[in-house]
């Protein structure tokens, strides 16, 4: 090949490449999507989109949609989320992330991935985010149907609430009480289920705050729910520990044996079936 012919071919390629890029539909919905949270993964499954990778659900896979079986799973670790090399191998066009993994997002963007955060911290947010994910992946109509179904299930789950017990909802374990406030996912679920949060209208960044044990003793909650870490076999031990904590043992919840330890992640993060979570909280913990 002569030098002049090679130059001509290179020039032609340089002209043609931008033209080809323009020819591709600019707003085309991404088809290769990675979903890092169970909510986004389940939403995609409901919308008929099979993600190229999903985040490993911390604490178990108890509520993951069965249609996601076989989808490669990415281990997640604080604060970056997935290993960016493992993510890059899956070549996603869109990554549905969460604020907790924000530190890792610039690296994803540098690799050409579009990143959107979606992690509802309220029951109402589930419906909003369902619509948003639908429009991001080009399944607006399916998302409308899903959101309508979720809304109906929430309304059904909230029917006939008779009592509004006061509830202390705490996260993790430790010698201090780390309360989930009304602007946390768990706090909002308890409110939707008819519980009155002991922390009232308190809000804090992230939805959690270390709460004074004096306030717990003085306000004496009807129900204490702990969302712990650990194996299910450990739960009775944790309930006993919490019931006998200094001061707490005098609360109404401890006296009347309404100190519960929740299993699974449904009070820690959103799924696509908030109606079921609300129903579970009413049945298992609030009895209302």
């Amino acid at each position: 090949m002569t030098l002049s012919l090679r130059r001509c071919l290179i020039s032609a390629a340089l002209v043609a490449l931008p033209a080809l890029a323009l020819a591709a539909p600019a707003g085309a919905a991404p088809t290769r999507i990675a979903a890092l949270t169970p909510f986004t993964a389940n939403t995609l499954a409901e919308l008929g989109v099979r993600p190229v990778a999903i985040g490993q659900t911390l604490g178990g896979h108890d509520r993951l949609d069965p249609r996601l079986k076989g989808v490669p799973t990415l281990a997640l670790s604080h604060p970056n989320g997935p290993n960016v090399e493992q993510l890059a191998v899956r070549n996603p066009q869109l990554v549905l992330s969460a604020p907790v993994w924000r530190k890792g997002e610039p690296a994803m963007r540098r690799l050409g991935m579009k990143v959107a955060e979606s992690d509802p911290a309220s029951v109402a947010g589930v419906l909003t985010e369902t619509h948003r994910i639908g429009s991001l992946v080009g399944r607006g109509a399916a998302a409308d149907r899903l959101a309508r179904r979720e809304g109906a299930e929430i309304a059904e789950a909230r029917k006939g609430i008779r009592r509004h017990p006061s509830v202390l909802l705490i996260m993790g374990v430790g010698r201090t009480s780390y309360a989930m406030l009304e602007n946390s996912w768990g706090g909002d679920v308890v409110r939707q289920a008819g519980g009155r949060l002991l922390t009232g209208g308190l809000r804090a960044s992230g939805g959690y705050a270390q709460i004074s044990d004096e306030a717990v003793v003085a306000r004496s909650p009807d129900v204490i729910i702990a969302v712990p870490h650990g194996a299910p076999s450990d739960l009775p031990k944790l309930a006993t520990y919490l019931s006998n904590k200094a001061g707490w043992r005098t609360t109404k919840a401890a006296r009347e044996h309404h100190v519960y330890v929740a299993t699974g992640n449904s009070l820690l993060q959103a799924y696509t079936d908030p109606g079921r979570t609300i129903r579970d909280v009413r049945t298992r913990f609030l009895g209302n």
Binding site: I211, E214, H229, Y241, A246
Partner: protein, 328 residues
């Protein structure tokens, strides 16, 4: 003690007393002072107010006084024994070991959270023992440089262990964050009931060591000529400091600031490095500072409680900097 040192000790004692009264009367729930007195005297009716005073505030106040004093004294012991103004409980590996023990319980065995103080004590003691074994074995055993380097290495080892645990259980890290930030908890007497023998032995050893440490400050040769065995005194001081610091870390987490700064603050205020004065004043200032910081941390945004570490820094650093600037 000269008038200046006596004044410092009296002011520190008064500050500890005022902080103690504030700690018992202030909190997320308003308890009238008369009710506090009734509860303390055993005249209060059964109910939440009595529970708050007797089960939450009294143990927390005693815990803060004990831990604050222990951190102050352990700093004095280490700075005196090692002849190093930067020595603190962090440097002998005890804090790193205790941190590892506590995080291990919190993250790997959350159902055994009641054993947290024990775990912190066990690993704090183990780290201290490792440092001592390394520093006192082989040629030149007991040398200050060897002890400091062993402490740094053991701290790094346990620090790496703590980080590994946090990565391995990254979904549970939230439980560890507050402990690492340092702070007291309203956990009744459970912590002190485990840790009190460590405090008792540590304080007793410290009291015995005041005069030998003064002699050690004159240099090893002079100290030996005065009948003191420098290596033995150094070993005893490090053991006492390790006991006090690991017990303190078991109860309040990682609060290295107190052990480092308080002895300096006390020396600057009193104008002397006499251990009899520095030890007693450091105990009182540490107790007052931790108690005041804790009371502030649990009342300023009540019912939300903030970690005490930042409050102690806010209280202590301006005073320290003022002294540093004004004393020649």
């Amino acid at each position: 003690m000269a008038l200046r040192q006596t004044s410092v000790v009296l002011v520190a004692a008064l500050a500890a007393l005022v902080a103690g009264v504030a700690s018992l009367t202030l909190g997320a729930v308003h308890v009238p002072p008369a009710d506090v007195l009734d509860a303390l005297a055993g005249h209060a009716d059964a109910g939440p107010l009595r529970e708050i005073v007797l089960q939450l505030r009294v143990p927390r106040t005693v815990e803060a006084l004990t831990v604050g004093a222990a951190l102050g004294v352990s700093g004095v012991l280490l700075q005196g024994a090692l002849g190093n103004p930067l020595a603190s409980p962090d440097i002998i590996g005890v804090t790193g070991g205790a941190g590892f023990g506590a995080i291990l319980v919190l993250l790997a065995f959350p159902s055994a959270v009641a054993l947290l103080p024990l775990g912190a004590l066990a690993f704090g003691g183990l780290a201290g023992a490792m440092v001592l074994a390394i520093a006192w074995s082989g040629p030149n055993g007991g040398a200050i440089g060897r002890l400091i380097l062993a402490g740094i290495a053991v701290s790094a080892l346990f620090g790496a262990g703590t980080t590994s645990l946090m990565v391995a259980f990254s979904d549970r890290v939230q439980s560890a964050v507050l402990w690492m930030a340092g702070g007291l908890s309203s956990d009744g007497w459970s912590g002190l009931s485990v840790a009190w023998p460590y405090f008792a032995i540590g304080f007793a050893l410290a009291a015995v060591l005041t005069r030998p440490l003064d002699r050690l400050a004159l240099g090893d040769d002079v100290a030996e000529s005065l009948g003191v065995r420098p290596r033995m005194i150094r070993l005893a001081a490090v053991v006492a400091a390790a006991l006090l610091a690991s017990a303190a870390a078991a109860l309040v987490g990682l609060l290295g600031f107190l052990g480092l700064v308080i002895p300096h603050l006390v020396r600057l205020a009193g104008g002397t490095a006499s251990h009899r004065y520095v030890m007693s004043a450091s105990a009182l200032v540490g107790a007052a500072l931790l108690l005041a910081g804790d009371t502030l941390a649990r009342t300023v945004l009540a019912p939300i409680e903030l970690p005490v570490g930042p409050f102690m820094v806010v209280l202590g650093v301006p005073v320290f900097l003022w002294l540093l600037r004004s004393v020649h």
